[in-house]
């Protein structure tokens, strides 16, 4: 597997800030189960700079969440294990750090927002307590000061009547408000990086946009890196700078966000784009990628996507395609673009 050096992200390149905030290199994660070893992540590379948003796209089981959990250091080991790879945070490999060092990074330097805020918040502790805990544990703040800070935070994420609701419990809030509380908790200590794992999936469509906008706004304000994990291409278009598409534990395509929408270089990405409902196609049958995501215990040989791919040929069933730099017809490299398809040229150029 070759590692492709990425140039600075296409929109808004920043000077003097070449070193990425977070760099994942050739990461492998396996789960030891009764039925065998499940290779959930097979050599993933990606990076995020400060102020940048990386969207990681994929179906469930693609390894996108497992990668995020490996970065956070919240995988259950065992059954999980990381046989290979590096996770560099500000140049330091977190996989080589002690448990205590990693704990100090969690929550303070890297924070995570989970999908289902109702189950992710402790049901028997007030939200104020759970927010205040960040300040009390990491900064040794008193209970009283932490409470004041919690109210501030709740105001910050636009929860109405924050002072009155600080002692309420998670179940007393609406879905959107709960997710705001999760965001507030992640933001509490102004971390350098936020990982949001499907932050809006559990919400109503109208609320989704509000929560997404809030997240993007706060990210700009604090100049944080953001890894946005989602299966929903519709969510990422407005907020992401670049996208990595994952399939069966590997990145199959990488591109700046608008390039990807315009010209996908992998049949899987194309399938995802075609299955987004569009107003101008009203009344037509919606495209769907045929088949199901692969069982990770029995990943098809060659390209894992080949059984579902309309363009698959013999080489796809035998040879694993590498993630290669994508070029124009004339051979000029497309910045930040790569694809793991034997037929990427045909896919992107037509």
């Amino acid at each position: 597997m070759t590692i492709i050096e990425e140039a600075a992200p296409v929109p808004a390149p920043r000077e003097g800030e070449d070193a990425p905030l977070l760099e994942v290199r050739d990461l492998h994660v396996e789960f030891v189960t009764r039925e065998g070893v499940v290779r959930a992540v097979n050599g993933v590379d990606y990076n995020v700079h400060a102020g940048e948003t990386l969207a990681v796209l994929g179906e469930s089981g693609s390894g996108k969440s497992v990668t995020a959990q490996a970065i956070m250091g919240i995988l259950d080991m065992p059954p999980a294990r990381i046989p290979q790879g590096e996770i560099l945070f500000q140049g330091q490999d977190m996989l080589k750090m002690s448990a205590e060092e990693r704990r100090r990074i969690r929550g303070r330097r890297i924070a995570m927002i989970f999908q289902d805020a109702l189950s992710s918040l402790n049901p028997v502790l007030s939200v104020g307590y759970q927010l205040g805990e960040m300040f009390r544990v990491h900064h040794g703040m008193s209970k009283k000061d932490a409470r004041v800070k919690s109210i501030e935070l709740m105001d910050r994420v636009k929860i109405p009547a924050a002072a009155a609701r600080v002692d309420d419990y998670a179940h007393q809030f609406s879905g959107g408000m709960r997710q705001r509380i999760m965001i507030a908790m992640a933001l509490a200590l102004e971390p350098d990086l936020i990982i949001a794992d499907e932050p809006t999936t559990a919400l109503d469509v109208t609320v989704q946009a509000q929560v997404m906008d809030l997240l993007a706004e706060l990210q700009r304000e604090y100049n944080m890196g953001l890894i946005l994990i989602t299966h929903d291409l519709g969510v990422v278009a407005d907020v992401a700078d670049k996208i990595a598409v994952m399939y069966a534990g590997r990145i199959v395509e990488r591109a700046p966000v608008h390039d990807l929408y315009k010209r996908p270089a992998h049949p899987y990405t194309r399938g995802l784009l075609d299955s987004i409902p569009r107003l101008d196609q009203k009344g037509q049958e919606l495209y769907a990628i045929k088949g199901l995501p692969p069982n990770l215990l029995r990943v098809p040989s060659g390209c894992a996507f080949n059984p579902r791919c309309e363009k698959a040929e013999d080489v796809c069933r035998t040879q694993l395609p590498e993630l290669l730099q994508v070029t124009e017809r004339d051979g000029t490299e497309l910045t930040g673009r790569s694809s793991a398809c034997h037929f990427w040229k045909e896919t992107i150029h037509g």
Partner: protein, 310 residues
Amino acid sequence: MGRYVARRLLQMIPVFFGTTLLIFLMVYALPGDPVQGLFGDKGGSPQVIAALRHEYGLDQNIFVQYFNYMKGIILHADFGTQVASGRPVTDVLGDAFPVTLRLGGFAFVIEVVVGITLGVYAGLNAGRAADTAVLLTTLLLISVPVFVLGFILKWIFADELQWLEPNVNDPTNYGELVMPAIVLATASLAYVSRLTRTSIAENMRADYVRTAIAKGLPRRRVVTVHLMRNSMIPVVTYLGTDIGALLGGAVITEGIFNIQGIGGTIYQSLIRREGTTLVGLVTILVLVYLVASLLVDLLYAVLDPRIRYA
């Protein structure tokens, strides 16, 4: 909350009357006669028996008897008279109850402390050797009947090793109560640790625990603040219902170690067929049980804010 307490108290009223009526029927309506029991196998003269039956009101309709008995309890806190001694049941209880309360309380403390500690330890190590060891030991402890355990412990520690007295002479001495309390607590302790273990192991996989870890909280805090409180909810429920079982189990433990508590008194009145004493004692136990389960329900509300008592 106040309304909830009121509603629960109201619900308790039919249960209280139902339970006491049930006890009453069991003691008086089933074959066998408490007065006949007074005379043992020889049997008394019919006249004497009839007179006694009249004195205790046993010649009346069973429901009239029940009504009169309840009236006595509610109006005068009169739980009846012990047939053998002629003393009020409340007096007899005054002697025996503190003994059982001490024994039961001691057992309860052992059950809670040891049971929860073992359960948390096993749950945090779910799937490992320590967990398996706790699971197997507790399974064995559940399967050994209490009286077998009592006999064996008594034989080993009192007869063979002579570390402890075989019988309890002074029930105010906690040293003497150690062995009986352990015997009484064993089965419940095993249940508590298994319940705690399951609850902890299940909640360890809960999303909010993952959140707590992702927040960078120290493991100790994750366990004590986030995991424990959620996991204790089913355990508390069990502990509440177990108070009745502990008092009932005292019959056996007190028998083995010759303790003059409520269990012994109940057993004696049972064998002597002293219906009024029996009804009085069991009624009081039921009251204790009902109050305990109410307290547990209230504690439940404190532990779990999701339960709204409208």
